[in-house]
Amino acid sequence: MDKRFKHTLVAHKICPFSMKVLTVMRHKNVKFEIKFIETHNKPEWFIRISPLGNVPVLIIGEEVVLSESAIIMEYIDEITPPKLMPDDPLQKALDRAKFEYSNEIIRNLYSFIFSTEQEKFVRQKECLIKHFKWIEEQLKDKKFINGNELSLVDLSFVPLFVALNMLKSTLPCDMLKDFKRLKIYGDMITSLPCSKTGRVPDYEFLMIDGIKTQNTVLYRSNPCYFNNDSKPQGCCFFRN
């Protein structure tokens, strides 16, 4: 890796796209500094380099600022051979489509988790189930999304399963209970060392805190699970 350049990752603790990049950087053992920012209280120096407030952002050297998780991930991959991305241009393009697909599902899930309106909540849940069905089909006969080897696409999906695990440990229902292959896959990729070091230790706490303070549908329908009260048995929002 080019030592002329200092790499600083600016991230937000529960931002899934920040987690994606952090996971890749841990997997590749990149030396870097990390700075966490609060979205509701952005520091001046951050606003200057990312006026739109986007995270994650990778600052390289003194001047270069890269945003967009896909761009940052591929850059990190390229400067730390051997590359995880394929060389074949068509395969590369297919993988990039999968990055975008993982972004879409992750946005879907976060929208579901932090939804404050019932109608949107139900709609997002239906979208998610549709996506799960599609990925379940894609994982047939394969250990990883692309076959037998780990790829950047798998790391791209890590935040999805980290968030689903958070839901599973907080509420009594498992959104993946009808998706056997997805469960196995999710457990496998969230057990990778880079997946563990790619998220902050207080991730679950911060997510649950956000679910409560934003008065989400999830919280309003299941306050007992978010308040450490004694949990009733058999209370389940995810009816089939």
Binding site: V64, Y75, P89, A93, A97, E100, E104
Partner: protein
């Protein structure tokens, strides 16, 4: 490998791809679909139903910027830098145009004077950044055309279509931004990548939303 581009007539993202394919003189077939009534075969191949989609044989590639990079791999002289950092910067420049397209489309839908003016302020912020870059280089990344430049073509196609209806020069104060547009649309086969009747179809679509700028 046969290339089939699935498109719809006024899509700005399709225009990025057709500009590049035409400029690079890569042969392809094109299938226009009705966005409101997408055919079954298309939905089956594409869970996200995105347009443009490029079929390469039976493989499906989506996202205009991803398609551009794939197209680039088909020609001997790459339009992307080799160095990973420079390549990442070029890709960032391309991504930056996504926001600008969003703001401009927002302007065409703004129903009040206030919304329109707020959109203009936002657009000028982006133009300011572009002007600074373009003071240093002829094209968006360097003095030579690179892949990122195709990402900016639809910005100028849309603004060109709007200009007879705007009572002011949207590029006022941003001469380099204006010149860049002229340069881009004058590139061989790029300006003519706009489908037939583009301006008319675009304005018809915009009119249906009764935007403020058409009422002035």
């Amino acid at each position: 490998m046969s290339l089939t581009l699935v498109s719809y007539n006024i899509s700005p993202f399709v225009l990025r791809v057709t500009s590049a394919l035409n400029y690079l003189q890569i042969p392809y077939q094109q299938k226009d679909v009705d966005v409101m009534n997408k055919p079954e075969w298309f939905i089956k191949a594409n869970p996200l139903e995105k347009i443009p989609t490029l079929f390469v044989g039976d493989k499906v590639i989506q996202e205009s910027l991803v398609i551009l990079e794939y197209i680039n791999s088909l020609v001997p002289n790459s339009l992307l830098p080799n160095d990973p950092l420079e390549k990442a910067i070029n890709r960032s420049r391309a991504e930056f145009s996504n926001d600008i397209i969003g703001v401009i489309l927002g302007l065409t839908a703004a129903s009040t004077e206030e919304a329109f003016n707020n959109g203009l302020i936002e657009l000028k912020w982006y133009f300011d950044k572009l002007e600074n870059w373009l003071k240093q280089t002829k094209f968006i990344y360097s003095d030579e055309l690179t892949l990122a430049d195709f990402a900016y073509v639809p910005i100028y196609a849309i603004l060109q279509a709007l200009s007879p209806y705007l009572k002011f020069n949207i590029f006022e104060g941003f001469p380099k931004v204006q010149l860049y547009g002229t340069t881009l649309l004058a590139l061989p086969r790029v300006g003519t990548s706009k489908p037939e009747g583009y301006e008319q179809i675009l304005l018809e679509r915009i009119k249906t939303r009764k935007p403020y700028f058409l009422s002035v």
